[in-house]
Protein backbone atom coordinates (compact mmCIF):
# COMPACT_ATOMS: atom_id res chain seq x y z
CA UNK A 1 0.00 0.00 0.00
CA UNK A 2 2.79 2.41 0.86
CA UNK A 3 4.47 2.03 -2.54
CA UNK A 4 1.14 2.66 -4.15
CA UNK A 5 0.57 5.81 -2.12
CA UNK A 6 4.00 7.13 -3.04
CA UNK A 7 3.28 6.33 -6.67
CA UNK A 8 -0.05 8.13 -6.54
CA UNK A 9 1.50 11.18 -4.93
CA UNK A 10 4.54 11.27 -7.19
CA UNK A 11 2.22 10.85 -10.17
CA UNK A 12 0.43 14.13 -9.36
CA UNK A 13 -1.78 14.18 -12.36
CA UNK A 14 -3.81 17.29 -13.01
CA UNK A 15 -7.51 16.84 -12.41
CA UNK A 16 -8.46 17.30 -16.06
CA UNK A 17 -6.07 14.54 -17.05
CA UNK A 18 -7.58 12.19 -14.47
CA UNK A 19 -11.08 12.91 -15.77
CA UNK A 20 -9.97 12.38 -19.36
CA UNK A 21 -8.55 8.97 -18.52
CA UNK A 22 -11.52 8.11 -16.35
CA UNK A 23 -13.87 8.80 -19.24
CA UNK A 24 -11.99 6.26 -21.34
CA UNK A 25 -12.11 3.59 -18.63
CA UNK A 26 -15.13 1.45 -19.40
CA UNK A 27 -15.62 -0.14 -15.97
CA UNK A 28 -15.17 3.22 -14.25
CA UNK A 29 -17.89 4.72 -16.42
CA UNK A 30 -20.22 1.81 -15.73
CA UNK A 31 -19.56 2.26 -12.03
CA UNK A 32 -20.12 6.01 -12.19
CA UNK A 33 -23.35 5.54 -14.15
CA UNK A 34 -24.68 3.05 -11.59
CA UNK A 35 -23.76 5.37 -8.72
CA UNK A 36 -25.47 8.30 -10.44
CA UNK A 37 -28.57 6.19 -11.02
CA UNK A 38 -28.56 5.11 -7.37
CA UNK A 39 -28.31 8.70 -6.19
CA UNK A 40 -31.23 9.66 -8.43
CA UNK A 41 -33.26 6.71 -7.19
CA UNK A 42 -32.49 7.62 -3.59
CA UNK A 43 -33.44 11.28 -4.05
CA UNK A 44 -36.56 10.58 -6.08
CA UNK A 45 -37.64 7.57 -4.01
CA UNK A 46 -40.90 9.09 -2.73
CA UNK A 47 -41.96 9.88 -6.30
CA UNK A 48 -40.88 6.77 -8.17
CA UNK A 49 -41.64 4.01 -5.65
CA UNK A 50 -44.90 2.37 -6.76
CA UNK A 51 -46.08 1.70 -3.18
CA UNK A 52 -45.50 2.83 0.39
CA UNK A 53 -42.37 0.98 1.59
CA UNK A 54 -43.67 0.32 5.10
CA UNK A 55 -47.39 -0.05 4.55
CA UNK A 56 -48.48 -3.57 5.38
CA UNK A 57 -51.08 -5.37 3.37
CA UNK A 58 -51.58 -8.83 4.77
CA UNK A 59 -53.92 -9.86 1.96
CA UNK A 60 -51.03 -9.51 -0.44
CA UNK A 61 -48.36 -11.26 1.56
CA UNK A 62 -45.53 -13.29 -0.05
CA UNK A 63 -46.68 -12.65 -3.60
CA UNK A 64 -44.27 -13.63 -6.36
CA UNK A 65 -43.27 -10.91 -8.80
CA UNK A 66 -46.34 -9.85 -10.82
CA UNK A 67 -47.62 -6.86 -12.77
CA UNK A 68 -48.77 -4.89 -9.73
CA UNK A 69 -45.79 -5.77 -7.53
CA UNK A 70 -42.90 -6.02 -9.97
CA UNK A 71 -40.58 -7.74 -7.49
CA UNK A 72 -43.29 -9.32 -5.34
CA UNK A 73 -44.21 -8.68 -1.71
CA UNK A 74 -42.74 -9.74 1.62
CA UNK A 75 -44.27 -11.61 4.55
CA UNK A 76 -46.13 -8.47 5.66
CA UNK A 77 -47.40 -7.71 2.18
CA UNK A 78 -45.00 -4.84 1.60
CA UNK A 79 -43.83 -4.05 -1.93
CA UNK A 80 -40.24 -5.29 -2.35
CA UNK A 81 -39.46 -2.89 -5.19
CA UNK A 82 -40.59 0.13 -3.15
CA UNK A 83 -38.56 -1.06 -0.18
CA UNK A 84 -35.48 -1.53 -2.35
CA UNK A 85 -35.92 1.96 -3.84
CA UNK A 86 -36.17 3.56 -0.41
CA UNK A 87 -33.34 1.33 0.80
CA UNK A 88 -30.98 2.97 -1.69
CA UNK A 89 -31.09 6.21 0.27
CA UNK A 90 -30.51 4.38 3.56
CA UNK A 91 -27.40 2.62 2.24
CA UNK A 92 -25.98 5.68 0.49
CA UNK A 93 -26.51 7.82 3.57
CA UNK A 94 -24.73 5.29 5.75
CA UNK A 95 -21.86 5.16 3.26
CA UNK A 96 -21.47 8.93 2.94
CA UNK A 97 -21.78 9.60 6.67
CA UNK A 98 -19.38 6.89 7.80
CA UNK A 99 -16.81 7.49 5.09
CA UNK A 100 -17.10 11.25 5.63
CA UNK A 101 -16.53 11.06 9.37
CA UNK A 102 -13.81 8.40 9.13
CA UNK A 103 -11.96 10.27 6.38
CA UNK A 104 -12.22 13.62 8.17
CA UNK A 105 -10.93 12.26 11.47
CA UNK A 106 -8.33 10.01 9.84
CA UNK A 107 -6.96 12.66 7.49
CA UNK A 108 -6.75 15.28 10.24
CA UNK A 109 -4.99 12.98 12.68
CA UNK A 110 -2.74 11.58 9.94
CA UNK A 111 -1.73 15.10 8.92
CA UNK A 112 -0.95 16.07 12.48
CA UNK A 113 0.95 12.86 13.18
CA UNK A 114 3.00 13.09 10.02
CA UNK A 115 3.73 16.79 10.26
CA UNK A 116 4.38 17.08 13.96
CA UNK A 117 6.23 13.79 14.39
CA UNK A 118 7.68 12.97 17.81
CA UNK A 119 5.41 12.16 20.70
CA UNK A 120 2.19 13.24 18.95
CA UNK A 121 2.97 10.93 16.05
CA UNK A 122 3.86 8.10 18.38
CA UNK A 123 0.63 8.49 20.37
CA UNK A 124 -1.68 8.65 17.36
CA UNK A 125 -0.03 5.82 15.49
CA UNK A 126 -0.01 3.48 18.50
CA UNK A 127 -3.76 4.02 18.89
CA UNK A 128 -4.07 3.13 15.21
CA UNK A 129 -1.98 -0.01 15.78
CA UNK A 130 -4.19 -1.08 18.64
CA UNK A 131 -7.44 -0.52 16.76
CA UNK A 132 -6.06 -2.35 13.74
CA UNK A 133 -5.32 -5.30 16.01
CA UNK A 134 -9.02 -6.08 16.00
CA UNK A 135 -10.61 -7.62 12.94
CA UNK A 136 -12.71 -4.57 11.93
CA UNK A 137 -16.17 -5.99 11.55
CA UNK A 138 -15.84 -7.98 14.75
CA UNK A 139 -15.00 -4.87 16.75
CA UNK A 140 -17.89 -3.04 15.10
CA UNK A 141 -20.11 -6.00 15.94
CA UNK A 142 -19.14 -5.79 19.59
CA UNK A 143 -19.49 -2.01 19.79
CA UNK A 144 -22.90 -2.06 18.13
CA UNK A 145 -23.87 -5.06 20.25
CA UNK A 146 -22.97 -3.40 23.52
CA UNK A 147 -24.56 -0.05 22.65
CA UNK A 148 -27.67 -1.85 21.48
CA UNK A 149 -28.99 -2.59 17.99
CA UNK A 150 -29.61 0.56 15.93
CA UNK A 151 -28.49 2.06 12.66
CA UNK A 152 -26.76 4.94 14.43
CA UNK A 153 -24.73 2.61 16.61
CA UNK A 154 -23.65 0.65 13.55
CA UNK A 155 -22.56 3.89 11.86
CA UNK A 156 -20.71 4.96 14.98
CA UNK A 157 -18.98 1.58 15.23
CA UNK A 158 -17.94 1.61 11.58
CA UNK A 159 -16.57 5.16 11.91
CA UNK A 160 -14.62 4.23 15.05
CA UNK A 161 -12.83 1.44 13.20
CA UNK A 162 -12.73 3.21 9.81
CA UNK A 163 -10.56 6.28 10.46
CA UNK A 164 -7.40 4.28 11.21
CA UNK A 165 -6.54 3.36 7.64
CA UNK A 166 -6.93 6.98 6.47
CA UNK A 167 -4.66 8.17 9.27
CA UNK A 168 -2.01 5.61 8.41
CA UNK A 169 -1.96 6.39 4.70
CA UNK A 170 -2.08 10.16 5.12
CA UNK A 171 0.70 10.09 7.68
CA UNK A 172 2.92 8.14 5.31
CA UNK A 173 2.10 10.53 2.49
CA UNK A 174 2.77 13.59 4.64
CA UNK A 175 6.19 12.24 5.60
CA UNK A 176 7.24 12.22 1.95
CA UNK A 177 5.61 15.55 1.07
CA UNK A 178 6.75 17.63 4.01
CA UNK A 179 10.40 17.53 2.94
CA UNK A 180 9.56 19.03 -0.44
CA UNK A 181 10.88 22.46 -1.41
CA UNK A 182 7.50 24.16 -1.56
CA UNK A 183 6.85 23.30 2.07
CA UNK A 184 10.25 24.60 3.03
CA UNK A 185 9.56 27.75 1.04
CA UNK A 186 6.28 28.27 2.86
CA UNK A 187 8.03 27.77 6.18
CA UNK A 188 10.76 30.20 5.22
CA UNK A 189 8.10 32.78 4.40
CA UNK A 190 6.85 32.43 7.95
CA UNK A 191 3.60 30.64 7.12
CA UNK A 192 1.80 29.27 10.20
CA UNK A 193 1.80 25.55 10.97
CA UNK A 194 -1.91 25.05 10.44
CA UNK A 195 -1.79 26.84 7.11
CA UNK A 196 1.14 24.74 5.93
CA UNK A 197 -0.62 21.55 6.96
CA UNK A 198 -4.02 22.30 5.49
CA UNK A 199 -3.23 24.57 2.54
CA UNK A 200 0.13 23.29 1.35
CA UNK A 201 0.41 19.65 2.37
CA UNK A 202 -3.20 18.48 2.42
CA UNK A 203 -3.97 19.09 -1.28
CA UNK A 204 -0.91 17.05 -2.17
CA UNK A 205 -1.94 14.01 -0.19
CA UNK A 206 -5.60 13.97 -1.20
CA UNK A 207 -5.27 11.65 -4.19
CA UNK A 208 -4.88 8.41 -2.18
CA UNK A 209 -7.63 9.61 0.16
CA UNK A 210 -10.04 9.91 -2.76
CA UNK A 211 -9.21 6.37 -3.86
CA UNK A 212 -9.64 5.07 -0.32
CA UNK A 213 -12.91 6.91 0.15
CA UNK A 214 -14.38 5.48 -3.05
CA UNK A 215 -13.38 1.94 -2.14
CA UNK A 216 -14.42 2.74 1.42
CA UNK A 217 -17.98 3.44 0.28
CA UNK A 218 -18.13 -0.12 -1.06
CA UNK A 219 -16.67 -1.49 2.12
CA UNK A 220 -18.91 0.48 4.49
CA UNK A 221 -22.13 -0.26 2.60
CA UNK A 222 -21.25 -3.94 2.63
CA UNK A 223 -20.31 -3.94 6.32
CA UNK A 224 -23.43 -2.02 7.37
CA UNK A 225 -25.59 -4.42 5.38
CA UNK A 226 -23.82 -7.35 7.06
CA UNK A 227 -24.45 -5.93 10.52
CA UNK A 228 -28.09 -5.25 9.66
CA UNK A 229 -28.33 -8.76 8.29
CA UNK A 230 -27.17 -10.00 11.68
CA UNK A 231 -29.95 -7.93 13.25
CA UNK A 232 -27.76 -5.22 14.78
CA UNK A 233 -28.33 -2.37 12.35
CA UNK A 234 -31.52 -1.01 10.89
CA UNK A 235 -34.58 -1.95 12.92
CA UNK A 236 -38.02 -2.64 11.50
CA UNK A 237 -39.73 -1.17 9.61
CA UNK A 238 -36.73 0.70 8.05
CA UNK A 239 -36.32 -0.59 4.49
CA UNK A 240 -32.63 -1.51 4.72
CA UNK A 241 -31.25 -4.05 2.25
CA UNK A 242 -29.33 -6.17 4.77
CA UNK A 243 -32.25 -6.45 7.17
CA UNK A 244 -34.59 -7.23 4.24
CA UNK A 245 -32.35 -10.19 3.44
CA UNK A 246 -32.50 -11.28 7.04
CA UNK A 247 -36.31 -11.04 7.08
CA UNK A 248 -36.47 -13.07 3.89
CA UNK A 249 -34.40 -15.96 5.26
CA UNK A 250 -37.37 -17.57 6.99
CA UNK A 251 -39.26 -17.73 3.69
CA UNK A 252 -36.48 -18.97 1.46
CA UNK A 253 -38.34 -22.08 0.41
CA UNK A 254 -41.70 -20.49 -0.39
CA UNK A 255 -40.56 -17.01 -1.47
CA UNK A 256 -36.96 -17.02 -2.74
CA UNK A 257 -37.44 -13.55 -4.28
CA UNK A 258 -37.21 -12.09 -0.77
CA UNK A 259 -33.63 -13.37 -0.65
CA UNK A 260 -32.59 -12.72 -4.22
CA UNK A 261 -33.48 -9.07 -4.87
CA UNK A 262 -32.06 -7.28 -1.80
CA UNK A 263 -28.77 -9.17 -2.18
CA UNK A 264 -28.61 -8.17 -5.82
CA UNK A 265 -29.13 -4.53 -4.85
CA UNK A 266 -26.27 -4.66 -2.35
CA UNK A 267 -23.96 -6.38 -4.81
CA UNK A 268 -24.62 -3.96 -7.68
CA UNK A 269 -24.03 -0.97 -5.40
CA UNK A 270 -20.82 -2.35 -3.94
CA UNK A 271 -19.61 -3.41 -7.38
CA UNK A 272 -20.20 0.11 -8.76
CA UNK A 273 -18.04 1.73 -6.08
CA UNK A 274 -15.38 -0.95 -6.53
CA UNK A 275 -15.32 -0.36 -10.31
CA UNK A 276 -14.83 3.35 -9.83
CA UNK A 277 -12.35 3.03 -6.97
CA UNK A 278 -10.21 0.47 -8.76
CA UNK A 279 -10.08 2.60 -11.88
CA UNK A 280 -9.19 5.72 -9.90
CA UNK A 281 -6.38 3.86 -8.18
CA UNK A 282 -4.98 2.57 -11.47
CA UNK A 283 -5.19 5.97 -13.13
CA UNK A 284 -3.72 7.93 -10.24
CA UNK A 285 -0.93 5.42 -9.62
CA UNK A 286 0.19 5.11 -13.23
CA UNK A 287 3.36 7.11 -13.45
Amino acid sequence: MHDLVTKIIEGRRPLTEVFRRLKKHRLAMIGAAIILALVLIAVLAPFIAPHDPIEQNLEHRLLSPNTEYLLGTDNLGRCILSRLIHGASVSLQIGVMVVGIAAFVGVTLGLIAGYRGGLTDELIMRIVDILLAFPGIILALAIAGILGPSLYNVMLALAVIGWTSYARVVRGAVLSVKEKEFVEAARALGTGEARIMFRHILPNVMAPVIVMATLGMAHVILAAAALSFLGLGAQPPTPEWGSMLNDGRAFMRSAPHLTIFPGLAIMVTVLAFNFLGDALRDILAKA
Binding site: F134, L141, A142, A226, V270
Partner: protein, 312 residues
Protein backbone atom coordinates in the same frame (compact mmCIF):
# COMPACT_ATOMS: atom_id res chain seq x y z
CA UNK B 1 16.78 -11.25 13.02
CA UNK B 2 16.64 -12.00 16.72
CA UNK B 3 16.53 -8.31 17.60
CA UNK B 4 13.65 -7.91 15.21
CA UNK B 5 11.72 -10.79 16.74
CA UNK B 6 12.28 -9.44 20.24
CA UNK B 7 11.22 -5.93 19.20
CA UNK B 8 8.18 -7.33 17.46
CA UNK B 9 7.27 -9.29 20.62
CA UNK B 10 7.57 -6.12 22.68
CA UNK B 11 5.23 -4.34 20.32
CA UNK B 12 2.85 -7.29 20.55
CA UNK B 13 2.72 -7.06 24.34
CA UNK B 14 1.99 -3.34 24.03
CA UNK B 15 -0.76 -3.93 21.49
CA UNK B 16 -2.30 -6.69 23.58
CA UNK B 17 -2.35 -4.31 26.55
CA UNK B 18 -4.10 -1.72 24.40
CA UNK B 19 -6.54 -4.35 23.21
CA UNK B 20 -7.27 -5.27 26.83
CA UNK B 21 -7.92 -1.61 27.75
CA UNK B 22 -10.39 -1.24 24.88
CA UNK B 23 -12.13 -4.50 25.64
CA UNK B 24 -12.30 -3.66 29.32
CA UNK B 25 -13.74 -0.20 28.73
CA UNK B 26 -16.41 -1.63 26.44
CA UNK B 27 -18.33 -2.82 29.46
CA UNK B 28 -18.49 0.75 30.68
CA UNK B 29 -20.26 1.88 27.54
CA UNK B 30 -23.26 -0.28 28.27
CA UNK B 31 -26.12 2.22 28.38
CA UNK B 32 -27.28 2.68 31.98
CA UNK B 33 -25.78 1.40 35.21
CA UNK B 34 -23.71 -1.72 34.39
CA UNK B 35 -24.45 -3.28 37.78
CA UNK B 36 -28.18 -2.86 37.26
CA UNK B 37 -28.03 -4.16 33.69
CA UNK B 38 -26.01 -7.19 34.74
CA UNK B 39 -28.24 -7.85 37.74
CA UNK B 40 -31.30 -7.71 35.49
CA UNK B 41 -29.72 -10.06 32.96
CA UNK B 42 -28.82 -12.46 35.70
CA UNK B 43 -31.76 -12.40 38.08
CA UNK B 44 -34.65 -11.11 35.97
CA UNK B 45 -36.62 -7.88 35.95
CA UNK B 46 -37.74 -7.89 39.59
CA UNK B 47 -34.56 -7.03 41.38
CA UNK B 48 -34.10 -5.03 44.55
CA UNK B 49 -31.54 -2.33 45.23
CA UNK B 50 -29.74 -4.83 47.48
CA UNK B 51 -29.31 -7.23 44.59
CA UNK B 52 -27.89 -4.48 42.42
CA UNK B 53 -25.48 -3.46 45.18
CA UNK B 54 -24.54 -7.10 45.71
CA UNK B 55 -23.69 -7.47 42.03
CA UNK B 56 -21.80 -4.17 42.10
CA UNK B 57 -19.66 -5.33 45.00
CA UNK B 58 -19.22 -8.84 43.60
CA UNK B 59 -17.94 -7.57 40.27
CA UNK B 60 -15.92 -4.86 41.97
CA UNK B 61 -17.84 -2.16 40.10
CA UNK B 62 -17.79 0.00 43.24
CA UNK B 63 -13.99 0.29 43.02
CA UNK B 64 -12.13 3.02 41.13
CA UNK B 65 -11.80 2.21 37.42
CA UNK B 66 -8.06 1.58 37.43
CA UNK B 67 -8.41 -0.94 40.25
CA UNK B 68 -11.23 -2.63 38.35
CA UNK B 69 -9.04 -2.82 35.27
CA UNK B 70 -6.06 -4.14 37.18
CA UNK B 71 -8.12 -6.79 38.89
CA UNK B 72 -9.74 -7.79 35.61
CA UNK B 73 -6.37 -7.98 33.86
CA UNK B 74 -4.87 -10.16 36.59
CA UNK B 75 -7.80 -12.52 36.23
CA UNK B 76 -7.51 -12.56 32.45
CA UNK B 77 -3.81 -13.40 32.68
CA UNK B 78 -4.74 -16.32 34.89
CA UNK B 79 -7.16 -17.48 32.22
CA UNK B 80 -10.21 -16.33 34.12
CA UNK B 81 -12.46 -14.43 31.74
CA UNK B 82 -15.44 -14.50 34.06
CA UNK B 83 -18.67 -16.43 33.79
CA UNK B 84 -21.37 -16.41 31.16
CA UNK B 85 -24.61 -15.01 32.63
CA UNK B 86 -26.64 -17.29 30.50
CA UNK B 87 -25.03 -20.67 31.02
CA UNK B 88 -23.07 -19.93 34.20
CA UNK B 89 -20.08 -21.66 32.65
CA UNK B 90 -16.61 -20.08 32.56
CA UNK B 91 -16.28 -17.86 29.49
CA UNK B 92 -12.98 -19.46 28.51
CA UNK B 93 -14.60 -22.92 28.52
CA UNK B 94 -17.39 -21.68 26.28
CA UNK B 95 -14.86 -20.25 23.85
CA UNK B 96 -12.55 -23.26 23.83
CA UNK B 97 -15.48 -25.62 23.20
CA UNK B 98 -16.32 -23.65 20.08
CA UNK B 99 -12.75 -23.11 18.89
CA UNK B 100 -12.29 -26.36 16.90
CA UNK B 101 -15.39 -25.68 14.79
CA UNK B 102 -14.16 -22.21 13.84
CA UNK B 103 -10.63 -23.41 13.09
CA UNK B 104 -12.01 -26.20 10.91
CA UNK B 105 -14.22 -23.78 9.01
CA UNK B 106 -11.43 -21.22 8.60
CA UNK B 107 -9.01 -23.83 7.25
CA UNK B 108 -11.62 -25.15 4.85
CA UNK B 109 -12.38 -21.61 3.68
CA UNK B 110 -8.71 -20.92 3.15
CA UNK B 111 -8.35 -24.16 1.19
CA UNK B 112 -11.23 -23.15 -1.08
CA UNK B 113 -9.66 -19.74 -1.59
CA UNK B 114 -6.22 -21.11 -2.50
CA UNK B 115 -7.62 -23.82 -4.76
CA UNK B 116 -9.31 -21.10 -6.78
CA UNK B 117 -6.75 -18.33 -6.47
CA UNK B 118 -3.46 -20.08 -7.29
CA UNK B 119 -4.38 -21.56 -10.68
CA UNK B 120 -6.50 -18.59 -11.78
CA UNK B 121 -3.86 -16.09 -10.66
CA UNK B 122 -1.07 -17.90 -12.52
CA UNK B 123 -3.05 -18.28 -15.74
CA UNK B 124 -4.13 -14.63 -15.58
CA UNK B 125 -0.56 -13.43 -15.16
CA UNK B 126 0.95 -15.59 -17.87
CA UNK B 127 -1.71 -14.45 -20.31
CA UNK B 128 -2.02 -10.83 -19.28
CA UNK B 129 -4.84 -8.90 -21.02
CA UNK B 130 -6.14 -12.05 -22.73
CA UNK B 131 -9.81 -12.96 -22.56
CA UNK B 132 -9.07 -15.43 -19.77
CA UNK B 133 -7.32 -12.70 -17.79
CA UNK B 134 -10.12 -10.20 -18.30
CA UNK B 135 -12.78 -12.68 -17.29
CA UNK B 136 -10.93 -13.77 -14.17
CA UNK B 137 -10.22 -10.20 -13.11
CA UNK B 138 -13.87 -9.32 -13.59
CA UNK B 139 -14.76 -12.44 -11.61
CA UNK B 140 -12.38 -11.33 -8.87
CA UNK B 141 -14.07 -7.93 -8.67
CA UNK B 142 -17.42 -9.70 -8.51
CA UNK B 143 -16.07 -11.95 -5.77
CA UNK B 144 -14.98 -8.98 -3.68
CA UNK B 145 -18.32 -7.26 -4.14
CA UNK B 146 -20.72 -10.12 -3.52
CA UNK B 147 -22.01 -9.96 0.05
CA UNK B 148 -20.97 -13.24 1.67
CA UNK B 149 -24.23 -13.42 3.59
CA UNK B 150 -26.11 -13.29 0.31
CA UNK B 151 -23.80 -15.84 -1.33
CA UNK B 152 -24.41 -18.21 1.59
CA UNK B 153 -28.17 -17.90 1.19
CA UNK B 154 -27.96 -18.41 -2.58
CA UNK B 155 -25.87 -21.54 -2.06
CA UNK B 156 -28.48 -22.88 0.36
CA UNK B 157 -31.23 -21.96 -2.08
CA UNK B 158 -29.58 -23.81 -4.94
CA UNK B 159 -27.70 -26.74 -3.45
CA UNK B 160 -29.89 -27.52 -0.46
CA UNK B 161 -33.43 -26.44 -1.25
CA UNK B 162 -33.49 -26.78 -5.04
CA UNK B 163 -31.12 -29.66 -5.74
CA UNK B 164 -31.30 -31.21 -2.28
CA UNK B 165 -27.64 -32.26 -2.44
CA UNK B 166 -26.25 -30.73 0.71
CA UNK B 167 -27.55 -30.16 4.23
CA UNK B 168 -28.82 -26.67 5.11
CA UNK B 169 -27.11 -26.29 8.44
CA UNK B 170 -25.26 -27.83 11.38
CA UNK B 171 -21.87 -29.42 11.80
CA UNK B 172 -21.24 -33.03 10.87
CA UNK B 173 -19.53 -34.79 7.99
CA UNK B 174 -17.74 -33.19 5.08
CA UNK B 175 -21.06 -32.47 3.36
CA UNK B 176 -21.85 -30.00 6.12
CA UNK B 177 -18.59 -28.19 5.54
CA UNK B 178 -18.86 -27.55 1.80
CA UNK B 179 -21.35 -24.67 1.68
CA UNK B 180 -19.97 -22.72 4.66
CA UNK B 181 -16.44 -23.12 3.29
CA UNK B 182 -17.52 -21.85 -0.13
CA UNK B 183 -19.28 -18.89 1.50
CA UNK B 184 -16.18 -18.08 3.48
CA UNK B 185 -13.59 -18.78 0.79
CA UNK B 186 -15.02 -16.86 -2.17
CA UNK B 187 -14.20 -13.34 -1.05
CA UNK B 188 -10.72 -14.38 0.00
CA UNK B 189 -10.23 -16.21 -3.30
CA UNK B 190 -11.02 -13.01 -5.17
CA UNK B 191 -8.51 -10.91 -3.24
CA UNK B 192 -5.82 -13.59 -3.36
CA UNK B 193 -6.25 -14.12 -7.11
CA UNK B 194 -5.55 -10.47 -7.77
CA UNK B 195 -2.49 -10.58 -5.53
CA UNK B 196 -1.04 -13.70 -7.08
CA UNK B 197 -1.56 -12.22 -10.51
CA UNK B 198 0.18 -8.94 -9.74
CA UNK B 199 2.95 -10.68 -7.82
CA UNK B 200 3.52 -13.10 -10.73
CA UNK B 201 3.54 -10.22 -13.21
CA UNK B 202 6.19 -8.43 -11.22
CA UNK B 203 8.38 -11.53 -11.00
CA UNK B 204 7.92 -12.37 -14.68
CA UNK B 205 9.42 -9.00 -15.58
CA UNK B 206 12.63 -9.67 -13.65
CA UNK B 207 16.02 -10.27 -15.24
CA UNK B 208 16.46 -13.76 -13.85
CA UNK B 209 13.30 -14.85 -15.62
CA UNK B 210 14.62 -13.40 -18.86
CA UNK B 211 17.87 -15.22 -18.17
CA UNK B 212 16.03 -18.49 -17.58
CA UNK B 213 14.17 -18.05 -20.84
CA UNK B 214 17.36 -17.11 -22.67
CA UNK B 215 18.95 -20.32 -21.42
CA UNK B 216 16.24 -22.06 -23.40
CA UNK B 217 14.36 -23.50 -20.44
CA UNK B 218 10.86 -24.70 -21.12
CA UNK B 219 8.17 -22.13 -20.36
CA UNK B 220 6.64 -24.52 -17.83
CA UNK B 221 9.87 -24.76 -15.90
CA UNK B 222 10.33 -21.00 -16.02
CA UNK B 223 6.86 -20.36 -14.66
CA UNK B 224 6.49 -23.09 -12.08
CA UNK B 225 10.08 -23.46 -10.90
CA UNK B 226 11.47 -19.96 -11.16
CA UNK B 227 8.64 -17.50 -11.13
CA UNK B 228 6.03 -19.09 -8.87
CA UNK B 229 8.43 -19.68 -6.01
CA UNK B 230 9.36 -16.02 -5.85
CA UNK B 231 5.85 -14.80 -6.51
CA UNK B 232 4.59 -16.72 -3.51
CA UNK B 233 6.58 -14.68 -0.98
CA UNK B 234 4.23 -11.71 -0.73
CA UNK B 235 1.28 -14.04 -1.09
CA UNK B 236 2.19 -15.84 2.12
CA UNK B 237 1.95 -12.61 4.08
CA UNK B 238 -1.30 -11.64 2.49
CA UNK B 239 -2.82 -15.03 3.14
CA UNK B 240 -1.76 -14.62 6.75
CA UNK B 241 -3.23 -11.15 6.95
CA UNK B 242 -6.42 -12.42 5.36
CA UNK B 243 -6.92 -14.21 8.61
CA UNK B 244 -8.86 -11.16 9.81
CA UNK B 245 -11.34 -11.29 6.98
CA UNK B 246 -11.52 -15.02 7.47
CA UNK B 247 -12.58 -14.46 11.08
CA UNK B 248 -15.07 -11.79 10.03
CA UNK B 249 -16.47 -14.02 7.34
CA UNK B 250 -16.67 -16.88 9.81
CA UNK B 251 -19.12 -14.87 11.91
CA UNK B 252 -21.49 -14.59 8.93
CA UNK B 253 -21.01 -18.15 7.71
CA UNK B 254 -21.49 -19.55 11.20
CA UNK B 255 -24.71 -17.62 11.70
CA UNK B 256 -26.17 -18.59 8.32
CA UNK B 257 -25.26 -22.25 8.56
CA UNK B 258 -25.81 -22.61 12.32
CA UNK B 259 -22.17 -23.63 12.62
CA UNK B 260 -21.27 -23.94 16.31
CA UNK B 261 -18.15 -21.75 16.29
CA UNK B 262 -16.87 -18.66 18.08
CA UNK B 263 -18.45 -16.26 15.61
CA UNK B 264 -21.89 -17.57 16.33
CA UNK B 265 -21.14 -17.60 20.04
CA UNK B 266 -20.31 -13.90 19.80
CA UNK B 267 -23.49 -13.02 17.93
CA UNK B 268 -25.61 -15.12 20.29
CA UNK B 269 -24.00 -13.50 23.31
CA UNK B 270 -24.68 -10.05 21.86
CA UNK B 271 -28.38 -10.80 21.54
CA UNK B 272 -28.50 -12.37 24.97
CA UNK B 273 -26.66 -9.30 26.29
CA UNK B 274 -24.22 -11.71 27.92
CA UNK B 275 -21.54 -9.05 28.44
CA UNK B 276 -18.82 -11.20 29.97
CA UNK B 277 -19.05 -13.56 27.05
CA UNK B 278 -18.96 -10.70 24.51
CA UNK B 279 -15.88 -9.30 26.22
CA UNK B 280 -14.22 -12.70 26.34
CA UNK B 281 -14.89 -13.45 22.67
CA UNK B 282 -13.53 -10.08 21.52
CA UNK B 283 -10.41 -10.40 23.63
CA UNK B 284 -9.81 -13.94 22.46
CA UNK B 285 -10.32 -13.12 18.79
CA UNK B 286 -8.09 -10.04 18.93
CA UNK B 287 -5.35 -11.94 20.75
CA UNK B 288 -5.53 -14.70 18.17
CA UNK B 289 -5.33 -12.15 15.38
CA UNK B 290 -2.31 -10.38 16.89
CA UNK B 291 -0.51 -13.70 17.37
CA UNK B 292 -1.15 -14.83 13.81
CA UNK B 293 0.16 -11.52 12.50
CA UNK B 294 3.31 -11.95 14.54
CA UNK B 295 3.85 -15.48 13.24
CA UNK B 296 3.29 -14.34 9.65
CA UNK B 297 5.81 -11.54 10.06
CA UNK B 298 8.44 -13.85 11.48
CA UNK B 299 7.78 -16.52 8.90
CA UNK B 300 8.16 -13.88 6.22
CA UNK B 301 11.69 -13.00 7.30
CA UNK B 302 12.66 -16.65 6.96
CA UNK B 303 11.12 -16.87 3.51
CA UNK B 304 12.80 -13.81 2.11
CA UNK B 305 16.40 -13.40 3.24
CA UNK B 306 16.54 -10.08 1.35
CA UNK B 307 14.52 -8.43 4.09
CA UNK B 308 16.63 -6.90 6.81
CA UNK B 309 14.41 -5.82 9.60
CA UNK B 310 17.25 -4.43 11.64
CA UNK B 311 17.67 -1.73 9.06
CA UNK B 312 14.11 -0.53 9.53
Amino acid sequence: MLTYVIRRMGLMVFILLGVSVITFSMMHFVPGDPAEVIATERYGEEITTETIEFVRAELGLDQPVYIQYFRWLTNVLRGDLGYSFRTDRPVLDEILTRLPATVQLALAGMLVALLIAIPVGIVSATRQYSAVDNISMFGALLGVSIPNFWLGLLLILFFSLYLGWLPVFGRGGIEHLILPALTLGTGMAAITTRLIRSSMLEVLGQDYIRAARAKGLKEKVVIYKHALKNAMIPVVTIVGLQFASLLEGAVIAEVIFAWPGIGRLLVDSIFARDFMLIQGCILFIAAMFVLVNLLVDIFYTYLDPKIHYEAK
